[in-house]
Amino acid sequence: MKQAGQNGQVTPALSEQLLLSIAEQLKLPFLQIARRAELASLEVNDPGALQDIQTTATTAIGLLDNYLFGARLALEDHYQLQMEPVSISSVLYDTGQQLDAMAKLYGVELELSLGGKFGPVMAHRAALQSALVSLGYSLIEALPSLQDKKLRLQLATHRCRYGIVAGMYSDVEQVTTEALRQGRKLQGHARQPLATLTHGSGAGVFVADAILQAMDSELKVTRHHRLYGLGTILRPNQQIQLV
């Protein structure tokens, strides 16, 4: 989706929409910090407040980095990331580490499910991790707004006929191909493009989408056993497997 600018340059319209989503999304952690800090001034007995504020702020800083990365890729025309053989298990493990504190704050249980041994996949390690962290944050924030029971998010990988799938899964049925397709269309035009999934702008999902596109991949709705989720299909590194 491109638009011609005043000087004839081609401007990626999608990136402007992405920036709008990001700006909207980033209000939330600031709001959480502001209200939590204000509680202290109201002398509410809240022993975990400082720790929670720190976690929210640290996560927000990490998110900003990821969002900047995604926005930069979306703004650049024909940006290509250098691919390398990457261990998908270690990327998922590191993603889990980055998301763990925020997940605990939201009461979401993170699980790592690495069913079987997979060889390396072709990816840009930092970009893949960035995409998964952005996606994970969106899902962690979305899960409690969908249901009131115990919440679980699985970082998982499995083999499919096209390659190795890496993604995040929960038992939330609202994650559908149709919801994602509609969301992509509405991104930047509606306040809540993924209305069946999240109450926010869903920026993390679209940032993940932009990053994965720069890796010649895409965000897809996938299933992992009985769970529903979003993930991407990565190409196995055949050369290493031959060795």
Binding site: K27, E38, L39, L42, Y106, A142, S145, L146, R191, H199
Partner: protein, 128 residues
């Protein structure tokens, strides 16, 4: 006084709940319109604080459903939303007159103290 707080973000809901409970209110929370309707049925709130932007069913849909029951037609509703009021300027008359919204607050610009003041004002109106 019982308050039903309909807020989709768990962390914000916790902050609002703690502030309101500190001020002496009893608070039930719900993240979705569906959960909120069930909570309204079991908790019998005196005041509802509502975010418009919810998952699946919006706060407006909740309001239409909520007001369709005779018992809940006069319960004051305070909207505390991340949707700027300017986006509701055209439909404010419907929110106020048809759906009985007592007040509209833009969440990013509303401190806990301002929210408490608004809730206290509504409480005073109920007592009269």
């Amino acid at each position: 006084m019982h308050i039903l707080l309909i807020e989709p973000d768990r962390l914000l809901a916790r902050s609002y709940q703690q502030a309101l409970e500190q001020a002496g209110y009893s608070v039930a929370t719900g993240p979705t319109a569906q959960v909120a309707i069930h909570a309204a049925d079991t908790q019998r709130p005196d005041i509802v604080i509502l975010e418009i932007q919810l998952v699946s069913h919006s706060g407006i849909e909740f309001l239409y459903e909520f007001r369709s029951y005779a018992d809940w037609q006069h319960i004051p509703v305070i909207v505390l939303s991340q949707v700027p009021p300017a986006e509701f300027s055209d439909s404010w008359a419907i929110l106020k007159d048809e759906l009985g919204v007592a007040a509209y607050y833009y969440k990013p610009h509303t401190s806990l103290t301002q929210l408490l003041r608004a809730v206290n004002a509504v409480t005073e109106t109920i007592k009269k």
